[in-house]
């Protein structure tokens, strides 16, 4: 029987040599005349083990990692095709504690299947959500999504079902589903991973959204920094069209839905939905004032659902298993699961999907295993460049939209960057302002000018110039940006700046400059 070997094609695996490992394995297969094939799967999300090679055996899939090309011969010699022991062996992938302790709903297939095999997709419950949706009325689909408690996973946390209902009720000759795959926040890669590892789930989610709201055309706006995701989504859409999952008759139904990929052009602000719509229309990615809501006047002025990749990729499982099943996970008003991305200076970095409610400390120390450097954790930034820096003293904060808001932070796209005690928080605050200055679309003065003034003020603080006055000025700038900006770029840049200043005051009180002794 042909042995199946899995070597991920996820960009994170490629970045650490997965292609070279796959090539070395192919070479050994040929040299030894073995009946085996290599499948390029998505990533299981245990990124510190990448490239994570798996072999399908009678005892399930056995994991080996991180594998270097130079390890390949010894793997074959050790008999890894039978799942034999080797210093890199972790036993069955399913039983690795990091993986076994997750609740994988959205990412159930990611890393398991060949991302471009519709056969694999169907075998692992793919398309059952869409089939059920086709048999329902649009209003019932929307109700199911509303009842699931799903909130926008892009960061804003707006209830997805309510957004869909607005578009469903809106009249218009043409409505659109726009998927926001402009995942620009540092520490986030869940969108990239699902597009590279299970693209059909996004296609299925968008098709369901189209049927529910009466939209027949969809766009996936993917940032240009993700060429691998763009290529896989393009190919998956082509395959879905050939299988009649997309097209004039979705799975043989009376519903039409088709979609295409659009590439961004390196502007962070286009992750904001109205600026994304302008970009999609071929304009500068300038933020639009709301109202009108994109749900009523979105792409080309027509009713448009703009949802994050994670929101849309969570739809198939909700339709498949039912709203009650999904809602059963989570806490408070944060229902379902959230793919937490653990990144930066952390031992076990990767993607960890779990119900809302773990504390930040559990995520960083128990799941993440503490810092990679082995030094103490000093700060953890949650929610990307617009998210607050949390000190260890706030590690008891549960992962929940409201709990984070109560601590002047945000979950955002659920990315977490861990910093050890070598980090200079004044430098991080300055970077937040610098990033805002580089990426501001320019529409709102507090964001456009305030960010540049913020960089200058942080520099003055670093030089010890009129400390108290400049700290007060930085706080004042933050206040103006927070309340005087239309979108989250100017509005949320104050989170990292103020949290750095409030939680790490020592870094903002440099010793007064001493004249260099000649």
């Amino acid at each position: 029987m042909t042995v199946t070997i899995f070597v991920p094609r996820d960009a994170a695996a490629l970045a650490v040599g997965a292609d070279r490992v796959a090539k070395a394995i192919e070479k050994e297969i040929a040299a030894r005349g073995i009946d085996a094939r290599v499948v390029r799967n998505g990533s299981r999300g245990m990124l510190w083990l990448e490239p994570l090679v798996e072999v399908r055996t009678d005892h399930g899939r056995i994991a080996y990692g991180p594998v270097k090309p130079s390890d390949v011969v010894s793997l074959f010699d050790a008999g890894f095709l039978n799942g034999s022991a080797h210093p890199l062996c972790h036993g069955p992938t399913q039983d690795i504690p990091y993986y076994a302790s997750q609740t994988r709903l959205t990412f159930s297939r990611c890393g398991v299947t060949d991302p471009l095999s519709i056969e694999d997709y169907r075998q692992y419950r793919g398309l059952t959500g869409l089939e059920k949706a086709i048999a329902m009325t649009p209003a019932d689909i929307v109700k199911e999504v509303t009842d699931s408690g799903l909130r926008g996973r892009g960061g804003a946390g707006f209830p997805t079902g309510i957004k869909w209902k607005t578009v469903m009720d809106a009249a218009g000759p043409q409505k659109y589903i726009v998927c926001n795959a402009d995942e620009g926040d540092s520490a986030t890669f869940a969108d990239r991973m699902i597009m590279e590892g299970d693209p059909f789930v996004l296609i299925e989610g968008m098709a369901i959204a189209g049927i529910a709201t009466g939209a027949t055309k969809g766009y996936v706006y993917i940032r240009s920094e993700y060429p691998h995701a763009i290529a896989i989504m393009d190919e998956a859409i082509r395959l879905a069209r050939a299988e009649k999952i997309l097209g004039p008759s979705v799975l043989g139904s009376a519903y039409a839905f088709d979609m295409e990929v659009r590439s961004g052009a390196g502007a962070y602000v286009c992750g904001e939905e109205t600026s994304l719509l302008n970009s999609l229309e071929g304009k500068r990615g300038i933020v639009r004032a709301k109202p009108p809501l994109p749900a009523l006047q979105g792409f080309l002025g027509r009713p448009t659902v703009v949802n994050n990749v994670m929101s849309l990729a969570s739809i198939p499982v909700i339709l498949d298993r039912g709203a009650a099943f999904y809602k059963d996970f989570g806490m408070g008003r944060s229902r379902g699961t959230i793919p937490i991305q653990i990144a930066g200076n952390v031992k076990h970095g990767g993607l960890y999907e779990i119900a809302f409610g773990l504390t930040l400390g559990q995520i960083v120390n128990e799941i993440g295993g503490g810092t990679a450097s082995g030094r103490p954790v000093k700060a953890v930034q949650v929610g990307g460049p617009l998210g607050a820096y949390f000190p260890v003293s706030l590690f008891d904060t549960p992962f929940d939209y409201e709990a984070f808001a109560a601590k002047d932070g945000l979950i955002g796209h659920a990315g977490i960057t861990v910093f050890d005690d070598t980090v200079d928080m004044l430098k991080q605050a300055r970077f937040a302002m610098e990033f805002c200055a580089i990426e501001s679309c320019g529409k709102c003065t507090p964001c456009r000018i305030g960010s540049t003034r913020g960089v200058e003020t942080a520099d003055k603080i670093a030089q010890g110039i009129e400390l108290e006055k400049n700290k007060a000025l930085l706080a004042d700038l933050c206040n103006t940006m927070k309340f005087g900006s239309l979108c989250a770029l100017g509005g949320f840049t104050p989170y990292p700046v103020m949290s750095a200043m409030n939680h790490f005051p020592n870094d903002f009180s440099p010793a007064p400059m001493v004249e260099a002794a000649e």
């Binding site: 970045a15 520490a187 986030t188 071929g282 991305q341």
Partner: protein
Amino acid sequence: MNLHVSSRDIGERTLSIIGELKALEGPLLPILHEIQAEFGYVPQEALPIIARELNLSRAEVHGVVSFYHDYRDHPTGRHVLKLCRAEACQSMGGDALAERVKALLGIDFHQTTLDGAVTLEPVYCLGLCSTAPAAMLDGEVHGRLDADAVKDLVAEVRA
């Protein structure tokens, strides 16, 4: 990439790209991406042609080209090395690594080495935040970079 393209060639190739993509909803970004893929940058000569064909003003087209970080108004070196400068890479020593690369190449961000071998650009997140620090060389991704790895990358582009 042919760096010596005549204005007439630019005009003809721009027109043919526009012809292929004009029917899209919101065709300007796809057109600009294709033009940059064709020439390696967006030539000034292409802008009035795009404006005319899409019934836009030249100012509008210029505004879009200059808004997005991706579009360049001049050719790059033979290789483009993008170093991630975002927080996750910072937490793993990305800043020091960037300084090292700059010193090895003798250039700053947004510059090209005198021999035309490589252009160095900053990028804010490649989504490789758990395998930081990360870089992209001509579209190929590299993670867990350290001093030796960047030395190899630099040697590769210099070869």
